[in-house]
Amino acid sequence: MIGIIDYGMGNLHSVSKALERLNLPYFLSENTDELNKADGLILPGVGSFHDAMGLLKEKEQETFIKTWAADGRPLLGICLGMQLLFEGSEENGETEGLGFLPGYAKLFPGKTKEGTAYKVPHMGWNKLTFQQPQHILLQDTEEGHVYFVHSYVIDTEDKDVLIATSDYYGEVPAVVGRGRVLGTQFHPEKSSTLGMKLLENFGRMVSEGRNTDE
């Protein structure tokens, strides 16, 4: 059973509907006792990093999620939910994140080193390049297009956490993770067949209780 963390941000409806289509059992809750009964968690989210962390603290979900991850239980962050898995964001000054993965969310500069301006947010369908094609999340998939909407991008020195990347005037970490803490910058629930397959793979990982640390 997948628990979707409801902390008041993000389009919970489309994530839940996607799981329904895949016949993956799920529930939505903001209550940590309830969420603790799940076999895997999804942390969705759109909007502000600062507000999201504020809400996770306010609802006492931050400590719960940290314990969850420390116990090696499966967690999938989507979009802003993925960025929250990292050390922090430069949005609204500096905001500290959950700190499971090394790296920071930084605003797309909107200009290349050569001075050419480009659009921010990075919005639309962009192609994935698999960095870890054997990863469980990428099983039975091929490199294809997925749907992104974000203005901040993860900057990390640690290339080990990159499972798939995309290219938007530089490298965009698109599928990230270490152990069972995983995330997608794009919206799998809006990314047609490839996105749905990724969710399905996460669902399988949750139901099989399979370890990805090998």
Binding site: H13, G47, K119, M123, G124, W125, H145, V149, H187, S192
Partner: protein
Amino acid sequence: MITKRIIPCLDVKEGRVVKGIQFVGLRDAGDPVELSSFYDEQGADELVFLDISASHEGRKTMVDVVREVAGTLAIPFTVGGGINTLDDMRTILRAGADKVSLNTAAVKRPELISEGADYFGSQCIVTAIDAKFDEALASWRIYTHGGRTSTDWEVTDWAKEVVQRGAGEILLTSMDQDGAKNGFDLSLTEAVNQAVSVPVIASGGAGAKEHFTDVFEKTNADAALAASIFHYKETSVEEVKKHLREKGVRVR
């Protein structure tokens, strides 16, 4: 790199898709859910639903439509028409739409854009702009109320204003080209593109697949929207994309 998006637009009235849809094989050509799946299968990158219901009941029905579409569609969609308050935005977004599009209400009260962007994030807030060339102004003027009411806003000034207030995307319709079927308004599209840093969707005037290639080759538009050309099967999303691919434009 990111691909150019092709976006069919569906007009919905009292919960039904209107404007003679002529698809063979659809059980119910007015059913928004069935039509959106059809476009999804054709390779549409996104969909826009425009609620043209005049009644309160019709608007309520739209929420059910959004909920149902969100339950089946695995691509993003935007809902516009009759969104006047933060509450309206919340209702539509909570029902499962990915973005809301503001038009007249934003011109009447530009703060609405900032409120929506602060609350839901800029990526959810599209501003739809209807523009028509004005000889006296020597530029394009903004119209509201479905093109019936003129305003004092010049298009690039207004585009800058909405982006500064937090709009994450601009849906730009050329009233001069709309319905004429002889191509997108390239100069208008590029003028707005130059003025703002957010993605711009070109709309109005698509009459052939070549028009899509034109707008992507000659302007920096990020997406192109069309309605009747797809509904009346003059071309299809598949054909448009095939043509773009042949011309070297990146598409999904």
